[in-house]
């Protein structure tokens, strides 16, 4: 199970994130998870949203550079050591993580770990094999 993430290129200057946020708000798009990778000159905003295709279209229309990426979302128990288990598994299988981010679902005592791999199909297969549950696109959009 793989899910669709959208990424937006942003120059590192004031007001750029606000502009993205406004486009999403004006089009009633709900953000499920987000993270920003920043460098001295630019940043990459990565998001999982409820309607990714529409989000990409409206952001493009507003002049942003946008790209879709395939990532996987692993549901894990919210307790110590689980992140270590995952990292150990990736290491053992030679899965190179491009980047990762996560959030905690307090009510379900679960956490969702989003990960980007060079080969998402292989990563998904390995996680499934090891008994991890991967979120579907629909689940990720309606978290």
């Amino acid at each position: 199970m793989k899910i669709q993430q959208i990424s937006v290129f942003l120059e590192n200057k004031p007001g750029r994130l606000a502009s993205v946020a406004q486009v999403l708000k004006d089009n009633a798009i709900n953000i499920r998870a987000l993270t920003v990778a920043d460098t001295l000159d630019f940043g990459v905003l990565r998001m999982v949203v409820n309607r990714p295709d529409q989000a990409m279209a409206v952001l493009r229309q507003a002049g942003f550079t946008v790209k879709a990426a395939t990532i996987i979302a692993v549901e894990i128990d919210d307790r110590e050591g689980v992140f270590y288990d995952i990292m150990k598994l990736c290491d053992a299988e030679g899965l190179n993580i491009e980047y990762t981010y996560s959030f905690v679902e307090q009510q379900a005592k679960k956490a969702i770990l989003f990960m980007r791999f060079e080969d998402p199909d292989r990563a998904a297969a390995i996680f499934t094999q090891h008994g991890y549950r991967l979120l579907t696109n629909e689940e990720a959009r309606s978290i």
Binding site: D41, V44, V66, K67, R116
Partner: protein, 432 residues
Amino acid sequence: MIFNREFETLPLTVLRAHQSAQLVRLVHRVYERVPFYRAKMDAAGVKPADIRTIDDIARLPFTTKDEMREVYPYGLLACDQSDIVEIHTSSGTTGKPVVDAYTRNDIEVWSEVMARTLAMGGTTQHDIVQNAYGYGLFTGGLGVHYGARKIGAVVIPISGGNTKRQLDLMRDFGTTVLACTPSYSLYLAEAGREEGIDFSKVGLKAGFFGAEPWSENMRAEIQEKLHLKAIDIYGLTEIIGPGVASECEQQNHLHIFEDHFYPEVIDPTTGAVLPPGERGELVITTLTKDGTPVIRYRTRDITYLDREPCPCGRTSVRMHRILGRTDDMLVIRGVNVFPSQIEQVLLHIDGVEPHYQLIVDRRAQLDDLEVQVEMNDGLFSDTVKAIELKEREIAEELHSALLISAKVKLVEPKSITRSEGKARRVIDRRQI
């Protein structure tokens, strides 16, 4: 199609003899009749008798646009005022305008070179030429008009603007040849598409585009959208208007009508004449003009000359499409760089579009060049690593091609200021 086979295919020795004779005549004429040129030649220590062949031209002083402005309006006149039949001027947006005064013979020469130009794209007496260059003081409109009339084609003198009417007339009269600026042709294509016009059925065969810089990418787009052959033409008011040079059907460099306009390419800093193939500033002498002849005019346009024979059979020298302006030339740590050279490098990198800006600054006594390139969907990756690798790749390409060290910065699309459609390419913050 060659309009004037005799003069366009002159053997080189005959052409040189013709140019020599015209230059000698010209130098005597201006020395006797134009105090401006006499003073310049005296200051340079050159007498008319020193000029015997075309190769002596490098002994003559250059003429600049500023000098031409200083003698506004009639300071360059080399004939009796009563012999003038028409006057054009440059726009004068940056100062006093430059005057181009034509005798009857000058208009004949202009018609001739414009007829040659239009014939290069296949225009014959059976064609219908829609002339969307502005009529008036601007030389584009009447230049094309005279050329088309000389050929005997039908001219639709619609002038610029009024896009709806352009499209209506194009269909109603079956325009086969279009003349306008390249950017306006794309505007017409877009407006036509919105009106549901299928240009493959309109029957345009050639378009003559000039008066502003354009590129091979734009040519491809124009040809695809309008279904015609797009010909690059070159000219300037200071010389005659359009009709100084034009591409032939090969669309590979512009033939200069050198039996009328003698070209040289010089080093813009030292003034030394450069050999063919070397990039520099184009300098033109009007060999046959009687009204306001110009000797070694510094066009500030950057190009190089190509003396290879052209498959079309014409023997005239060709020039590369204008590569930039000397006004834009940058000296970065002692290396001369034109924005157009940087653009060439960028265009060869996969995914890069020609939207860029150069920012020059001086830090710790050293010049610092930042090349900003607009991000696009093709370049963008969601990983920082890939973006930084792309920046590094561009910097390495610039270094290997131009020997300049630049910091490359990818910026958001449309963040580079565009003023009236023209991007501002260079921001020089150096305080020297």
